[in-house]
Point group: C2
Chain length 321, copies 2
């Protein structure tokens, strides 16, 4: 069974780990690249790396990003030189990934091919596909005592810990970006498409901002089933609440489902998983034409992630009928 | 007193430390850049960095290169990706220097300006001048069971520890390189020019290979005094013996002096310091027209280096008469 998953970083990686452990699936992950940034001259792809390290056994699971057994000496020294951007904690081991990537991109390889080359080391067991080979960057329109301005998503997220009020998220470059042939094929040829419990605005939202991906999702023969990133109105991790508030989407499992939309009403979703705490919204989802189920969404261990993947595929099976 | 020193890495750095400690000198160091290499996309300048770290208190004195309190995690990970050139031990802290330098060079700054910017952190107390802003690379013609071929100096030096027989050293790019205005001014305006006890072939020899530098040395009004890098026919450190053998220069204090040549015979040297072990060559040097002295050359502590600098300036004073 070919399963294609739209994924961001941490939540996407955990969900993919559960899914990969099924013996009957061949998984492609379409991963957000709009969090990417060039820092100290290195091209850093946080979500691609979190997925790659996570599936490859190299992720610092406590921190949720970067490498196990990591140190930050180069970054300390960059700060000692007075360099900007040292709030972005570049790990010493992690730098190796960015050096390889930056050199290959500089040599003209596509990000898709670079990602495949890096994955030869990590053997993630999943085909990791950047959503696009074109540069797309989420910028955040913020307003505080320094006035209204747009900053790179990472500056908002990492430097300011999403504590500056955001009024808008703009995927700079998305208009001119194209999905890769690999992404379009993975969506068209999938037996099931899953939307990981990733940030609906800046992770999944950025993927959907690439022209052609939304269309590929609405035209694929595969059922499209999503997993709520919220449990009882709160993000399991990360700052989805702040992002949803900024774009005026109700911060709830049903709110996010309605934001993605039901496929029968020109939206994306055939199915949607909510947490047992949110079971009361099931009738509302059914009314929208979304096949919904309430199952535990917390992924505390690999078994949880595997059961969640099973539940998502079971809903897809029910959609297919 | 304005003193300009031609210098390579370790020996140059130690000598410069002694000289800098004199209160009456303003020092410019013209540093070899032909050991430079681009590795993992980063521009690395080993001699400039050894001098900068050495004078700035950041050098690992035991190792003789790279940073104190260094680790090599990025390099380990580059090796895990199967990258070439991981025999070149790139330190994690050291990478910060190369990231700053590579970005500034990429932005169009001259290496001279980049070096000055890096030195703002280290405050070496000496003006560190790359011999040229143009790329010059020492390649080594070697012959072994793999046949005759040219390899980058660093590959010969670091990877093969100079154990492959070398038949020739070629400064690739030197023909088209130009000395910087700063280097020409430092030589023209100096009160004294010193040649540090650095490798005569690949460090000082590379500096002299830049068209215009030899001429600037022969036309400067300042006395030019060198320090033998050999004591009793052996290099204090490094592999000058192998380099001298390859170019057919006798491996002795007198041999190196004759290689540089006496200024009165269109060579470079007005003065030359040898070790007490080599005092028997003093008459021979006098015959060549070189003002020579035998003084301890080993720099085991800052006091030694300071005394050696004093001796070199005393010989310069005698030359000036």
């Amino acid at each position: 069974m070919r399963v294609t998953v739209l994924a961001g970083g941490h939540g996407g990686a955990k969900f993919l780990m559960g899914l990969r452990d099924r013996p009957d699936v061949e998984v492609s992950a379409v991963v957000n690249t709009a969090d990417d940034l060039v820092v100290h001259g290195l091209t850093v792809c946080p979500d691609l790396d979190t997925v790659m390290y996570g599936l490859g056994g190299g992720l610092d699971g406590e921190r949720g990003w970067g490498r196990i057994d990591e140190s930050f000496r180069a970054n300390e020294d960059l700060a000692a030189y007075g360099m900007p951007h040292t709030w972005f904690g570049l790990g010493d081991r992690d730098i190796a990934t960015h050096l390889v990537r930056s050199q290959m991109l500089g040599a003209g390889y596509r990000l898709t091919d670079v990602t495949a080359a890096l994955a030869e080391r990590w053997r993630p067991g999943v085909t990791i596909l950047p959503m696009s080979d074109d540069r797309v960057e989420t910028h955040v329109v913020v307003a505080d005592e320094e006035g209204r301005r747009a900053i790179h998503f990472q500056e908002w997220w990492v430097r300011h810990r999403a504590q500056i009020p955001a009024t808008e998220f703009v995927q700079v470059g998305a208009d001119a970006a194209r999905p890769t042939p690999e992404v379009l094929a993975a969506l068209a040829e999938a037996d099931v498409v899953l939307v990981a419990p990733s940030n609906p605005v800046v992770s999944v939202g950025a993927i959907l901002a690439v022209p052609g991906i939304r269309e590929a999702l609405t035209t694929t023969a595969a059922p499209v089933v999503g997993i709520s990133p919220l449990i009882a109105g709160r993000a399991v991790r990360g700052m989805a609440e702040q992002c949803l508030a900024a774009v005026g989407v109700p911060c709830s499992a049903a709110g996010v489902a309605a934001h993605y939309g039901a496929r029968r009403s020109e939206g994306l979703l055939d199915g949607w998983l909510v947490a047992p705490e949110d079971a009361s919204v099931l009738p509302e989802l059914t009314d929208l034409g979304i096949e919904a189920a309430a199952v535990p969404l917390l992924m505390s261990d690999p078994g949880d992630a595997r059961r969640l993947a099973d539940s998502a595929l079971a809903v897809a099976q029910r959609v297919r009928g």
